[in-house]
């Protein structure tokens, strides 16, 4: 589904991604973990086409993305869940949901979204930034579901959420997977990561230094947590 090869990225002179190679197969949930500043967000932004100071090969279902602007990539099936949740203050909850075009056959109807997220339904006419942090995170996820993106790029969707809401995010991601969707997930919560993902990549100083499956992560959890500094 997604193939990244030889990806390098910079901010000015500082190189933050070095020869990153990564593949995500269709229907897979893959995480990306690493310390603060390891380059996780930059990697997702590069895939989305938002970080331009970058070089390397990125393709989606065999289509080369490197020359395509962000909006074309979205229409090819990339769904972006930004690390700050990306709520629009000037748009109501419903407008936040219906802003992106529907790009895939898996696109959820508004009814289904509101059935799944009754809180959002109750606040459907309020500006999105009036929602609580947790509700805004649900909105960000609901928005890419409504879009029907084939590959979700989720940047730390559980960050700062209560345990109950973290579980909820887990349910949603498992639902996406059961539905045949694919997810590239930036996640620092390793325990949570093993409950939703198939494989994990450890990013350090802009390189993928290890790739692990769930059993390996569970066996080495202590070591990995110490490494991540959590």
């Amino acid at each position: 589904m997604l193939r990244i090869d030889g990806l390098n990225a910079w901010y000015g002179e500082a190189q933050v991604l070095r020869d990153v190679a990564l593949e995500v197969a269709s229907g897979e949930v893959v995480t990306l973990c690493g310390r603060n500043g390891a380059g996780k967000t930059t990697l997702l932004r590069s895939v989305m086409g938002l970080h331009t100071q970058q070089r390397g090969a990125i393709s989606l279902r065999g289509t080369d993305l490197t020359k395509k602007p962000a909006h074309s990539r979205a229409r090819l099936g990339l769904g972006w869940v930004q690390d700050d949740r990306g709520s629009y203050a000037t748009l109501t909850v419903t407008e936040n949901l219906t802003l992106p075009p529907r790009v895939g056959p898996r696109s959820w109807s508004l009814d289904r979204i509101y059935e799944m997220f009754p809180n959002l339904y109750e606040r459907r006419s309020s500006p999105a930034t009036k929602l609580s942090g947790g509700e805004q995170q649900m909105l960000a996820l609901a928005r890419v579901l409504r879009m029907g993106a084939e590959l979700l790029l989720c940047d730390e969707p559980t960050e700062g959420l209560s345990p109950l809401l973290v579980q909820r995010v887990g349910e949603i991601l498992r639902l996406v997977k059961a539905d045949g969707g694919t997810v590239l997930l930036v996640e620092q919560n390793l325990h949570f990561a093993t409950t939703v993902a198939d494989r994990h990549h450890l990013l350090a100083e802009g390189r993928v230094v290890e790739s692990l499956d769930n059993t390996e992560v569970r066996n080495r959890e202590r070591e990995l947590l110490a490494y991540l500094g959590i």
Binding site: M48, G49, L50, P69, A70, H71, A74, R75, L78, W80, Q82, D84, G86, Y88, A89, T90, L91, E95, T98, L99, P100, P101, V103, R143, M147
Partner: protein, 294 residues
């Protein structure tokens, strides 16, 4: 009391021009992040457009009211494509300087052709009388200006809040990058929005022609006040710009009518900037503005 209401009404009419200009400026700034310094010169061109159409082609005010904004919209589109577009990747200062230079050129061109004295423009005959507003009589043309401005502001507000295009423009104004990541080609909206903002300035100019002196510098002083209006309202805040435009118009007319005789002109002129200073110290993002987000 009657006098007070009359002055307030006058203030709203004067605020109409501020509101229309601020609206265009805010729409443009919101999406392009360009402070269009030429906005005042375009307002002036709007008024001269009406004058020239009448003087040389014998076209009526009503024809000018439609033709001039459309013509200037085309000018705006060309301007955006030919110049502004090329500079958007650089520091916003470049476009500010570009539009500043353009202002000087436009003013001098008009000055060279029509001189510095005011060109006469008659009130359209259908609106030359006065309207009985119950408590007082008011020039029909002024009532028309106010009604037209309010209608346009409400229309733009409806366009922005009730249509998909409006939703896209709002989204792109607030978070351009995220909006692109949601599959929306933000760049496609830039040229039309610029043309639209310019057309609004041109329309304000046509409306001004019958009641204000039509001369090459008519936009130069006004635009500085409009900048204050936009900053007070909150850069890019459509609602803030329009509301503050009307309020400043009223406050200025009140100052001219009720401030101590020898201070009137000074107070009326400096009021917008005093308010701007106070608002900036108190709320740097303006009354209705928000802090920037990515």
């Amino acid at each position: 009391m009657t006098n007070f209401l009359e002055q307030t009404f006058n203030g709203l009419v004067s605020g109409s021009f501020l509101a229309l200009l601020a609206l265009g400026l805010a729409v443009i700034f919101g999406l392009l992040r360009v402070v269009n310094f030429a906005h005042g010169a375009i307002y002036m061109l709007g008024a001269f457009g009406a004058y020239v159409l009448a003087d040389e082609l014998g076209l009526s005010f009503w024809a000018a009211l439609i033709a001039v904004p459309l013509g200037l919209a085309v000018v705006g589109v060309v301007l955006e494509r030919a110049f502004i577009h090329r500079l958007t990747r650089l520091d916003p200062l470049y476009n500010f300087l570009l539009t500043f230079g353009l202002t000087l050129i436009l003013q001098d061109l008009v000055k060279a052709r029509y001189g510095v004295q005011s060109s006469p423009y008659a009130v359209p005959s259908a609106l030359s009388g006065s309207v009985d507003l119950g408590l007082f009589e008011f020039p029909a043309y002024r009532v028309f200006v106010l009604a037209m401005s309010v209608a346009i502001c409400v229309g733009v507000w409806a366009l922005l809040t009730r249509t998909r295009i409006g939703m896209v423009v709002r989204a792109a104004t607030e978070r351009p990058e995220l909006t692109r990541a949601f599959g929306i080609d933000v760049g496609r909206w830039i040229t039309p929005v610029f043309g639209f903002g310019v057309a609004l300035a041109g329309l304000a100019g046509v409306l001004a022609a019958p009641m204000r002196a039509v001369h090459p510098l008519m936009g130069a002083d006004l635009i500085i006040v409009v900048f204050a209006v936009v900053v007070i309202g909150g850069l890019g805040s459509i609602f803030g710009s329009v509301a503050v435009g009307f309020v400043i118009g009223v406050l200025q007319v009140w100052a001219e009518a009720y401030a101590p005789e020898s201070w009137r002109a000074l107070i009326a002129q400096t009021l917008p900037f005093l308010l701007m200073a106070v608002v900036l110290l108190w709320r740097p993002a303006g009354l209705f503005g928000r802090e920037e987000t990515a």
